[in-house]
Amino acid sequence: MKRIKHLFLSLGAMLGLTGCSASPSQVPIFAYAEDDTFISSLLVELDRELQGYDHPIHYSNRDQNQQNSAILEEIDNGADCLLVNLVDRLSASAIIEKAYEEEIPCIFLNRRPLDDDLDPPEGGLFGTWVRQHCFYVGSYPGYEGEKQAEIADTYFQAQGGFARSPIDRNGDGVVQVAIIKGEQGHQDAEERSSACLQGLKNRGYAVEAVASVYANWEKGKAKEMAASLPFEDIELVFSNNDDMALGVAEYLEENEPDLFLPIIGVDGTAAGKAAVEDGTLIGTVVNDAPKQAKIIAELVSHLLDGTPLPVGNESFLIESNYYYSMGNIVSSDF
């Protein structure tokens, strides 16, 4: 079936019906879901950056099987490069193998394949090909958490240090922290959560994680979960994203109007930035969708048109075929 299709396609090309050079390269995008705020903003940026290419978007509805089918279909259609936002990180190996068989380069977005997938230990033709044609573009694991800790540190210092400041309400000098996680066991959630705690510790603070809840990355869910938090013991809230941070803020505004808690988010969404402006959040870390989209476009251009590979800088870290964006801090003047 597929070979026949290819035959017809190449026949068509030979007859000049679809001149290869005339039609733009096919760079299909596979997003794991349609309702993810960050993925949506990344897709908007990608749409801008990939103007020169055909880039149909396939949403996989959180179903890896559906994503695989869409990928196979686009391979049959003659895809030139695959942009894959995985549903299941464990399926990356199969997609890479298939890409190798079909010799179609592959860039993974936002969800990182396993370490061995992009750097196969067996080497050989396959390993060499993968290292040259498969890439990952995303934010640096835990980087946002580290930046969240930096915001907290800056904030505390602006108060003249944490201990004995009004924020240390129980006066024990230990930072009592609540963590709002996106999901239990989710890479971004766990990395950010542990990195923000570790970041505070590294800066010399005594830290106690009083509570952690997970709210499925949603504002409403976070507001609901906030009811179970022991706010009298909490002095700082780290949220894995802005949506959930705003959910907690809303809960506090409605139920504890007299309590002021510093809340720090991640993503730098429009709502998040606005909340920083008006002081609802003390800060957020931009998950740099425009920067990632630009790097992805540069990689596509490298893979299809042979332009040079992107060069790393302070806002972009490159480790072999892993490309990590380093987001900026957005915070109010304390």
Partner: protein
């Protein structure tokens, strides 16, 4: 010579070739479309069935992952006391709800210290380098699936292991290990009835086999799967056609491959193609047959016409096309025209023959009139001399001979006279000459034993030959003998005039022969005149041969076809 085909062949072959091409094209197209449709239909069916199997497995595995998820969610907020006191009961409860779970245990990741387990199982020992323990530590955010070797009690089982974070105390980060019995599941939700050689495989991303419903050929099956990676494709396994569906099982790192035997489909398609091909061949044969009949109806009358025409080429104008009355209006018209033409040709030919005959006769007359008139004057002079010499008797004899001679010469205007008359004519001539020349000549006639009546010849053919002997052959002071012979053989009548006179040199004979064959007239050559008349009347078969030798004599022979000598076409 370039080869020309018969009309019938041409009329049959070209429509047949065109028809056969059309049929072949149709059959090819139909077969292609049919097999494509069948393939596509089966492809969809196999895909749907296979996806259903995969969905069943994913549902099963997601229920296993759910167990690890709730433990992970609970563990994140547990302090050391709760881990120690509550977790074992919690594990027991989970096992009670999930009977396929064989054991649940938990080990601190920092030092492999056993933290908790269900009450019925035992802690693992010496596991620090085993995959189920190493892999979760390497990647904290995935469920690790490792299958176990088959044992007699539990043929299929696996371990799900996972890194568990602890938000209360990071020192309590741990690795969870859950063992599942897998046997009942594969029995219950694996597809059955995949056909001969069909099978269901579960394998990991290194293509190590975890489960197969097939007993043999699994290595080959895995090799095919490795080529496809994921997707669906037609493959050959152990000589059988299969649809191979390969896909990942979400969140496990494992994959499934389903081989569905497609022999029946291939056979059905092949049967269809075979049948349609047979039908096509039958249709083509029928068409050729019909074309041959039609072509025959057109070509046969034309062939008959052609045969009749070829008779014309061999000068036979008795063509008859009435034999064939079939055929179309055009053919009938053609036949009518042909018949009219043949009739016209017949008439024209008859006229032509008649005309030729007339011409021949008038030519003959003209030639006969060329007989030398000096003979008459000389003879009359001789008679006068005889009368003057008082030899009245001799003169009378001579006049009688002359009278007969001329009577025969005239022969009532006939060209053809009985052979006897021609011989009498020659004898009278010789008598006259004998009387004139006296002892200088002598002559004799030699006749065959058989009767010569019933033979006719062109008249005045012997006299010129005798005259030739007298003119060229007479010896001085010696008697020259002249012999006239009549002879026959099977096919010819021979008239010979022989003398023993001077004879001729070979060169002279040659010249004489040449003159006979020349086309233009030589004045005063009697033999040439005879020769021409013979040829005019008898055609190629008549001839004159001349033999002569100096001092020996000359022999001239007339040869006439016997059959023609028996005919007197001037008889009334």
């Amino acid at each position: 010579m370039n080869k020309r085909h018969q009309l019938k062949f041409t009329l049959t072959i070209w429509p047949s070739v065109i028809f056969a091409s059309l049929v072949a094209l149709t059959v090819g197209g139909t077969s292609f479309i049919y097999s494509q449709n069948v393939a596509a239909e089966n492809y969809r069916q196999v895909e749907a069935t296979s996806e259903q199997v995969l969905t069943n497995y994913e549902t099963y595995f997601s229920s296993a992952i759910e167990v690890s998820d709730i433990i992970l969610a609970r563990y994140a907020n547990l302090d050391a006391t709760a881990i120690h006191d509550d977790l074992p009961f919690y594990f027991d409860m989970i096992r009670e709800l999930n009977p396929e779970i064989l054991s649940i245990s938990l080990y601190r990741s920092s030092d492999s210290y056993p933290l908790a387990k269900d009450s019925e199982s035992y802690y693992e020992v010496g596991f620090q380098s085993e995959d189920w323990y190493v892999e979760p530590l390497h990647d904290h955010y995935i469920n690790i699936f490792n299958s176990h070797p088959s044992s007699e009690d539990i043929p299929y089982s696996y371990t799900l292991s996972r890194y568990l974070a602890n938000d209360i105390d990071s020192a309590n980060e741990a690795v969870l290990k859950i063992d599942f019995d897998f046997g009942e599941i594969v029995e219950n939700i694996s597809p059955v009835d995949l056909g001969e050689g069909g099978r269901f495989l579960i394998y990991d991303s290194d293509y190590d086999l975890i489960y197969s419903s097939g007993r043999t050929m699994n290595e080959q099956a895995l090799a095919l799967t490795k080529e496809l990676v994921i997707g669906i494709e037609r493959v050959k396994l152990d000589g059988h056609n299969h649809y191979l569906y390969a896909m990942t099982i979400a969140n496990t790192g494992w994959r499934v491959a389903i081989f569905t035997n497609a022999d029946a489909i291939v056979a059905a398609v092949n049967n269809f193609i075979l049948m349609i091909c047979l039908l096509a061949i039958a249709a083509i044969l029928l068409f050729v047959l019909v074309m041959m009949l039609v072509a025959g109806r057109i070509a046969n009358p034309i062939r008959l016409l052609q045969r009749e025409m070829s008779r014309v080429a061999s000068l036979d104008y008795q063509a008859n096309v009435d034999k064939f009355s079939g055929g179309n209006q055009e053919i009938a018209d053609l036949y009518d025209s042909f018949e009219a033409m043949m009739a016209r040709i017949k008439t024209l030919t008859a006229d032509l023959v008649k005309e030729k005959e007339e011409q021949r006769k008038s030519e003959l007359r003209a030639l006969q009139n060329q007989i030398n008139p000096h003979f008459l004057y000389n003879t009359l002079d001789s008679i006068i001399a005889l009368i003057e010499a008082g030899q009245g008797e001799q003169a009378e004899k001579m006049i009688v001979a002359l009278s007969r001679f001329f009577r025969l010469s005239i022969s009532r205007g006939h060209n053809i006279i009985p052979l006897a008359d021609e011989l009498a004519h020659a004898r009278n001539y010789l008598l006259i000459q004998k009387m004139r020349h006296g002892e200088a000549i002598d002559f004799e006639f030699v006749l065959p034993e058989e009767r010569i009546d019933g033979y006719y010849v062109v008249k005045l053919i012997l006299q010129p030959l005798i005259e030739n002997s007298l003119v060229h052959g007479l010896k001085e002071d010696e008697t020259t003998h002249i012999k006239v012979t009549v002879g026959f053989d099977e096919s010819f009548l021979y008239l010979t005039v022989e003398d023993d006179g001077y004879g001729m040199k070979e060169s002279k004979v040659e010249e004489l022969r040449k003159r006979l064959l020349a086309t233009h007239e030589y004045k005063g050559v009697g033999i040439k005149n005879v020769y021409d008349r013979l040829r005019v009347y008898y055609g190629e078969q008549a001839d004159i041969t001349i033999e002569s030798e100096v001092e020996v004599g000359t022999k001239i022979t007339i040869q006439i076809p016997k059959a023609k000598a028996r005919v007197n076409d001037e008889a009334d």
